[in-house]
């Protein structure tokens, strides 16, 4: 795949090129910025996870005994805001995408390194503001900020929380902008569009959504802040404003935002499945174009959140059919991944286990999305735990499983060290079991009619809630273990080597960890993508 590789001295890499805090905080190296993101995103994940633990603890009993209503509402709002705006959206793009995109296309860096660093600072500003506000007073509107609750009736710090999300949005815009320009202008010679790894396609599609969707949530939050802070009303029914207009604007971004979370994950899965089957992904072009299709059609389905919101039935009908059409590209991806394994050389390494877990959980998440797209059925299950279960299957079972798969897959590249496969597989199984135990009962709860965001609930729902809380404990444990063996590997892990998995994409052609400039010599690509004919298949299980 690569025309000229000059052996590099092992000692010199992006991590030890410079030392000191300043060399990290002022770095313009995309790899170092990715690590800054990794560190901060992990902190936000822990914070969001603690809020989740409080929620599940409270819900083990039907009465409101652990937290009072007001606190409970603030806790689930905080969980949503932190997990969505400060964890899920930046997770894969800003960490793995940032690290790998230039490597995969044979570039020395992203197109705008300073903007890349700026995006991290903007993100930290938003994230810190968000966590400080949520910790010191909180807000009880839910992450959806529906008006007029948020503008008139809420007693929390709505403006500051909205400001935090608003600021974090700009970080995501800057990242998306950087990726788009980079993919267009920084590819190595010979690296045509159809030689791009599917991870790059997925991130290109994600960036399109970030660019076109995020500004709309920004202006929506801007209007919300004006209405709440200065009484300049846009949605206030007291003056004839329409709260449903707010919901349109909100979901115009927030539905595609789900694809910001899931598309990069899909990109990771395509890489991982291909590598551990030593086979070009079945239907490469179909997978690539399905990412783009999701990015475009993803913008036309937001109204399926509004079937019971007094949206017109005819508009709902259009949104419904578009939603079903949008399900097809996701289905195509799943079938293609399965077909990739056919006659492959399958190695069930930890990243591969995570990837297979992703396929299973995302299948369930996607299929239950079809239930919610069916208008007549949605009327019953919307705003219940069915929805909660569905989007956790997509976001946790999908996005986070994909993130874990990616982290395990590229860890040797990022750090140069190998972690314990055994422990990683144990953790993966715990996550898979714990996850299903937590969220599967919620489908049942939802169809029984338990509404979401309920602090107290009728006693007949308790058994399923206890199951769910028990599962959450297992899930939490499953997420803690990687923290331990990853840290362990930094010091004691075996040296990974440049290409431990036998992968073919460009990032594996440079040393692990890569040098600051990524490649000693700009690579010239002369072969097709995922050409395993000259790659040895290492047996790591």
């Amino acid at each position: 795949m690569i025309a000229a590789t000059v052996p590099v001295k092992e000692e010199k890499n992006y991590m030890n090129a410079e030392h000191g805090l300043k060399s990290w905080l002022l770095t313009q190296d995309h790899k170092r910025i990715a690590l800054l993101y990794l560190l901060s995103v992990t902190v936000f994940f822990i914070v969001g996870g603690l809020f989740a633990a409080l929620i599940r603890l409270e819900l083990t009993t039907p009465a409101g005994d652990l937290l009072d209503s007001n606190t409970y509402n603030k806790v689930f709002t905080a969980h949503g805001v932190v997990m969505i705006f400060f964890f899920l959206i930046p997770s894969i793009p800003a960490i793995l995408g940032n690290f790998l995109l230039p490597l995969m296309i044979g570039a020395k860096d992203l197109a705008f390194p300073r903007i890349n660093l700026l995006s991290w600072y903007v993100y930290m500003l938003g994230g810190t503001l968000g966590v400080v506000v949520l910790a010191t007073g909180g807000v009880d509107t839910g992450w959806t900020f529906y008006t007029p609750l948020s503008t008139t009736y809420s007693n929390g710090y709505v403006v500051l929380t909205a400001m935090a999300a608003f600021v974090a949005g700009f970080s995501s815009i800057l990242t998306g902008l950087n990726f788009i320009v980079t993919v267009h202008r920084m590819r190595a010679p010979g690296l045509t569009w159809f030689r791009l790894p599917l991870f790059v396609w997925a991130h290109y599609a994600t960036s399109v959504i970030m660019i076109l969707g995020t500004p709309v949530i920004a202006v929506t939050l801007f209007m919300l802040m004006l209405e709440r802070g200065l009484h300049i009303g846009f949605f206030d029914p007291a003056y004839g404003g329409d709260p449903v207009l707010f919901q349109h604007l909100f979901w115009f971004y927030s539905h595609p935002a789900v694809y910001i979370m899931i598309l990069p994950s899909m990109g990771v899965i395509s890489e991982v499945v291909s590598t551990f089957c030593s086979k070009k992904p079945f239907g490469y072009t179909f997978i690539a174009f399905s990412s783009v299709a999701i990015a475009v059609f993803g913008f036309l389905v937001w109204g399926h959140h509004l079937y019971v919101s007094s949206q017109s039935a005819y508009a709902g009908m259009v949104f419904s059919i578009l939603t079903y059409i949008l399900a097809i590209p996701s289905a195509i991806k799943i079938f293609n991944w399965a077909a990739t394994m056919y006659k492959g050389q399958v190695r069930l390494t930890a990243p591969m286990l995570y990837a297979l877990g992703f396929i299973g959980l995302f299948t369930v998440g996607g299929l239950t999305g079809l239930f919610l797209a069916a208008m007549g059925l949605d009327v019953h299950v919307t705003d219940t735990y069915f929805v909660v279960a569905h989007f956790h299957y997509v976001m946790v079972g999908g996005a986070i499983m994909g993130y874990m798969a990616g982290l395990h897959y590229w860890w040797p590249k990022i750090t140069g060290r190998m972690y314990s496969q055994l422990w990683a597989k144990v953790a993966c199984c715990l996550v898979f079991i714990g996850f299903n135990l937590t969220f599967f009962p919620q489908f049942v709860l939802g169809y029984l009619g338990m509404p979401r965001r309920y602090h107290v609930y009728p006693v007949e729902f308790q058994v399923l809630n206890v199951l769910s809380s028990g599962g959450a404990a297992v899930l939490g444990l499953g997420y803690l273990i990687p923290g331990v063996y990853f840290l362990w590997s930094l010091k004691y892990g075996a040296k990974a080597g440049d290409n431990p998995w036998g992968a073919t994409t460009l990032e594996w052609q440079t040393s692990s960890p890569p040098p600051t400039a990524n490649f000693e010599v700009t690579p010239v690509v002369t072969t097709e993508v995922y050409d395993y004919s000259n790659t040895e298949v290492p047996h790591i299980v």
Binding site: L245, H248, F299, L300, S310, S312, A313, A315
Partner: protein, 103 residues
């Protein structure tokens, strides 16, 4: 192969022409608002605005001389704006078709 955003020196004559058109259209659109066109009023005003915006984009912003990629970016911006405006207005326009409040 890629098109290049070559230095294209736009003649000053073009700037003058665009500028004059913009000024004239500004006063035309102000005048036309006093003419009774019924519901067409907003569409006429918007058409004039779209025309003005187009010549700014094409000449002042050099898109006419730009790469295909630039043109694609501009078009996708317009397309997505239309997604936002028309799909939402689709809801507003069809509310009440069924004759049942809230459907």
């Amino acid at each position: 192969m890629q098109e290049h955003s070559e230095h294209h020196i736009v003649p000053k004559r073009v700037y003058a022409l665009v500028f004059t058109t913009l000024i004239i259209m500004t006063w035309v659109t102000a005048w036309i608002s006093t003419v009774d066109l019924g519901p067409m009023n907003i569409w006429v005003a918007l058409s004039i605005a779209v025309f003005k915006a187009s010549i700014v984009v094409l000449f002042f912003m050099h898109v006419k001389y730009g790469t295909r990629l630039t043109k694609m970016i501009v078009c996708s911006g317009i397309l997505w704006l239309m997604f936002l405006l028309f799909v939402t207005m689709g809801d507003m326009w069809t509310r009440g078709w069924m004759g049942v409040p809230g459907r």
